[in-house]
């Protein structure tokens, strides 16, 4: 008989009665087949942890295939969460706890588990055929030495799930699908997570009552298994972190970016127009915005990336806050249109959620290798502004700022996110809309002395004139324009003048950037520079190094073009400058060229974020080498 749903602990309240050990932080990774629902499990566990008051950082990791054959190494999907009572900045280097739902997940992930870490495995899934698919001869759970290295909990998850659900009359396939909730229940128990939200979520998510009941039962069964059996002697507790009061929501970078665009358009009192062609890992921005038609957002799924850029530019000409989002391959296609946007000087945002390149590369993995393309990837002298968010939540602010700058300077702005930010999540202290700054964005209507390339003295930007404005009919286009009339001009000096004025316009943005913050040891002789998503890992590494007494400071660049004006002087103050990036060294080139500083790179191109430990070691190595 299947177990009814409900907790077995004495008070039936979902609180364990077993002894509790306290931990500062825990890194847990759920891994299974793409069909096993690991992303969902991870997300739920994350929400529970956030609500428990921990600081959290997540790192989902998908395969490139939708659903590679079940049980194969290629089909393994993972989700890692770091939850802590301290402020944290990375999803953690290595999991303390690893949950594997099949042998392939074991094979791909086990080497990452810290020695002495907890390994929970669904031993039902370690069947002969699954073992073969994962390339095992025997059952690795039974391998010699395994229990010396890890604290193994070999749990018959499938069997117990089936058992718990057996009288519900569901097809076997649906029953087995619930096993991730068993795992979630077990982990919820193990880490004393609040369970109400999950139970509420199950009710909201599943439409059919029997599925609600099934998942609820599986969840309870997992929880009860921990509480009842003697396999686990104790539970763990990660105390609440000291977090600024406020309302929080756990948000991925893509969602934050979408919301940032929406909020900025609203604050500029303009229509948000998002034109895009689906591509991993940027598509979720399209999905998120498409779901917000109630905010007046127009989303347009174009026939390709070139069209998306063209449609956005047309919408900008018509007065919308126009955005086109994509990933690397799409940016390689948008170059020509971006050049046109530079020439016609219209505001436009290009979001590049970077992934592993070149070419199709590693489509689901993060990388920072599109920076030089953002700066130089078009024919002609073709400068655009470039900003890179530093965390999932900063995606909101960076998007907001990109819109502001694009309008104020009448220029395209590239936002360089990446797959790690896009899918990773952080708790976001939700602002009140009223408190967000206004964005000045008035269309030009003055006919006196008008021409389309009249320039604002401060910003050098030209006026934003939209069709429908009487008396200001004019033509824009990709041919060079006369500085004084906006007509086509092939005159030699005029061309040079226009090239220089377009460049100066971008440089002027620097005047209003937030001052660069220098973190870490104030007496440092070494400066580590990061940009984009590596902020967290670098921050954590420098903190660690400082705590080890290393004299290191840290600066993070959010704007890549223009650079903050003080960066040159700042760099000059240090004996050593290190630039860490997930590429072959791109920002480091820019800094070396601009400031003739012998900055040295730390590079990683493995489709993964930096690990703090690696960074610590590598920075130390450089300090010794260049002492």
């Amino acid at each position: 008989m299947g177990a009814p749903s409900g907790f077995t602990s004495s008070d039936k309240s979902g609180r364990s009665t077993k002894p509790v050990e306290s931990r500062e932080h825990v890194v847990i990774r759920f891994a299974g087949d793409s069909g096993d629902g690991m992303q969902l499990t991870g997300t739920q566990f994350t929400n529970q942890s956030a609500m428990a008051g921990n600081d959290i950082v997540t790192l989902p990791d998908f395969p490139a295939e939708i659903r590679a054959p079940a049980g194969t190494l290629a089909g393994v999907s993972g989700f890692q969460l770091n939850f802590s009572s301290q402020h944290i900045f990375t999803p953690g280097d290595e999991p303390d706890v690893l949950v594997v739902m099949n042998p392939a997940a074991y094979a791909v992930n086990v080497d990452d588990l810290v020695e002495g870490g907890i390994l929970i495995a669904d031993n039902d899934a370690f069947s002969k055929s699954n073992l073969r698919k994962a390339g095992f001869e025997g059952n690795p759970l039974e391998a010699e030495g395994l229990t010396d290295r890890y604290r193994l909990f070999s749990v018959p998850i499938t069997k117990m799930t089936v058992e718990a659900l057996k009288d519900l009359g569901l097809p076997q396939k649906s029953v087995v699908r619930c096993k991730n909730f068993f795992a979630l229940g077990l982990c919820s128990w193990l880490f004393n997570r609040p369970t109400d939200a999950t139970l509420r979520w199950i009710e909201a998510k599943f439409k059919k009552p029997e599925l609600i009941e099934a998942n609820r039962r599986a969840f309870h069964a997992g929880w009860n298994y921990g509480e009842t059996t003697e396999a686990f002697a104790a539970t763990y507790q990660v105390p609440e972190a000291d977090i600024e009061p406020g309302r929080y929501t756990n948000i991925t970078g893509n969602k934050a970016l979408a919301w940032g665009l929406m909020a900025a358009a609203a604050k500029a009192d303009k229509q948000l127009f998002y034109a895009s062609y689906p591509i991993t890992p940027a598509s979720d921005i399209l999905h998120e915005l498409a779901a917000h038609k109630d905010f007046g957002v127009i989303t347009f799924q174009a026939e390709d990336e070139i069209a998306a850029a063209g449609v956005a530019l047309g919408a900008s000409f018509s007065g919308s806050v126009a955005v086109t989002g994509t990933s690397g391959p799409g940016v390689s296609l948008k170059g020509e249109t971006l050049g046109l946007a530079v020439m016609v000087e219209l505001p436009m945002i290009v979001v590049n959620v970077q992934r592993g390149g070149p070419s199709t590369g590693l489509p689901t993995k993060p990388e920072q290798s599109d920076l030089l393309q953002a700066l130089y990837g078009r024919h002609g002298e073709c400068p655009v502004a470039v900003i890179a968010p530093s965390s999932p939540t900063d995606c909101f602010d960076a998007a907001f700022e990109a819109v502001r700058v694009a309008i104020r300077y009448m220029t395209p702005v590239i936002v360089l996110s990446d797959g790690f930010l896009a899918n990773g999540s952080r708790p976001w202290k939700t602002p009140s809309f009223a408190d967000l700054p206004e964005i000045a964005a008035k269309f030009w209507t003055e006919t006196l002395g008008f021409h389309p390339y009249l320039r604002d003295e401060d910003t050098l930007s030209r006026p934003w004139v939209v069709p429908g404005t009487p008396g200001l009919e004019h033509r824009v286009g990709g041919l060079e324009k006369d500085y004084n009339s906006g007509n086509i001009s092939y005159m030699p000096q005029n061309h040079e003048r226009m090239i220089r004025v377009r460049a100066s316009k971008i440089e002027r943005i620097a005047d209003e950037l937030q001052p660069l913050e220098v973190m870490g040891d104030p007496d440092a002789d070494t400066l580590v520079i990061s940009w984009g998503s590596t902020y967290g890992a670098l921050y954590a590494a420098v903190k660690e190094l400082n705590s080890q007494g290393q004299p290191i400071a840290h600066a993070h660049l959010r704007w890549l073009n223009p650079l903050p004006p003080e960066i040159g002087e700042l760099i000059a103050r240090y004996k050593r400058v290190i630039v860490a990036e997930l590429n072959m060294g791109q920002l480091v080139r820019v800094l070396r060229e601009r400031f003739l500083v012998d900055a040295v790179p730390i590079n990683r191109m493995q489709g993964q974020p930096f690990k703090t430990g690696e960074l610590v070691a590598e920075i130390k190595g450089l300090m010794e080498k260049r002492a």
Binding site: A197, A307, G471, V476, G477
Partner: protein, 348 residues
């Protein structure tokens, strides 16, 4: 000084002539088209500030500079994309796309077929001179087999597109064809295009005296005008030829076109096809008439006028319709509510 609106009813041709020097070669067919478009504009009753001309690159794509309206001379092939953005963001504007056989059918072919299927309410004028003019005379996707050009010194071997067939195949709701030198006809087609709600696709056969002179003379010279122009009228039988030698088109049992002599005084045979702009099969049939192959006997006439005109939902209306519907939702547009969705929690 504030902006001043033009009195729509008083707009004249001159109001649509810009102050830019027209830079086409002497004798270029583009001049005639420009003149007709400028002539038709005031009749639309749209103030010129609400009109936008969008083009790509090519001789033809210089068009927007000469119209005293808003204009965007974009990049090669991308005008339909730009125009889609312009129109979708501002459905109140009258949006015109001007393109060439290279711009619209070669590099821009994809955007063209996609705008046609989406059916935005815009007008597309494709100037077909069967050559790349601006780049000085290479063959285009409409150049005929065997044509000698700079890039085909031994003759073109690429089968040309039939522009109308391509547009129909893409699902265009309005497809028409006219000729630069046929001023009246050009005007009437422009009017029909404007009246159509949805994407109007107009192919304009245009002479390029520099690189492809006389390519359409077979249908524009005196003989051609008389014998080779099938002037389509909705609901009317498909007749052509001079008064003295009228001919009609009928369908054979095998569904092939047949040209037969007709004596209008004696009444028109039931078999002669009656044009129906809303009949897919007829439109495709007309598009498949091969009027270009040299030496065909009897030579087929070129179908001119509206080949197809059907009603279908208009893209920008559907898009804005969904937005309007969504805005009826409770808390629509409330950011504070949005930020609090999902599993949010409070730390105090």
């Amino acid at each position: 000084m504030s902006t001043t609106a033009v009195d729509v009813t008083k707009q004249t041709r001159k109001d649509f002539v810009s102050d830019q020097d027209v830079r086409w070669c002497p004798g270029c067919g583009d001049y005639a088209i420009l003149a007709q478009v400028q002539k038709v504009m005031p009749e639309l009753g749209v103030p010129r500030e609400n009109v936008v001309f969008v083009s790509g690159i090519g001789c033809s794509s210089r068009f927007p500079y000469y119209m005293n309206t808003y204009g965007f001379h974009s990049i090669h092939g991308r005008a339909p994309a730009l125009a889609t953005g312009v129109k979708l963001a501002r459905p109140d504007l009258s949006v015109w796309i001007v393109t060439g056989d290279g711009d619209g059918l070669s590099i821009g072919g994809n955007h063209l077929i996609h705008i046609l299927r989406r059916n935005l309410d815009v007008n597309i004028l494709l100037f077909n001179n069967e050559v790349y003019g601006l780049t000085k005379g290479q063959y285009s996707p409409t150049s005929r087999l065997g044509q000698i050009t700079k890039s085909s010194p031994m003759g073109v071997v690429d089968q040309p597109f039939d522009t109308a067939a391509l547009a129909l195949g893409a699902g265009a709701t309005f497809v028409a064809r006219t000729i630069d030198v046929e001023q009246k006809h050009l005007q009437s087609v422009l009017h029909a295009a404007v009246e159509h709600k949805g994407t109007s696709f107009v192919e304009i056969l245009q002479n390029c005296p520099i690189f492809n002179d006389g390519v359409f003379s077979e249908v524009t010279d005196d003989d051609g005008r008389a014998y080779r122009q099938l002037l389509l009228e909705n609901g009317k039988p498909m007749l052509f030829g001079p008064e003295s030698d009228r001919k009609g088109i009928r369908l054979s049992r095998e569904m092939r076109p047949e040209v037969v002599s007709v004596n209008e005084d004696e009444g028109i045979d039931e078999d002669i096809l009656v044009h129906d702009v809303a009949n897919d099969a007829k439109s495709f049939f007309l598009a498949s008439l091969d009027w270009q192959t040299a030496g065909a006997q009897p030579p087929m006439p070129v179908p001119l006028g509206v080949l197809r005109a059907v009603d279908r939902p208009i893209y920008e209306q559907s898009v804005h319709g969904q937005i309007d519907a969504a805005r009826q939702k409770e808390a629509a547009g409330d950011f504070d509510r949005l930020f609090a969705t999902g599993d949010s929690w409070v730390v105090d």
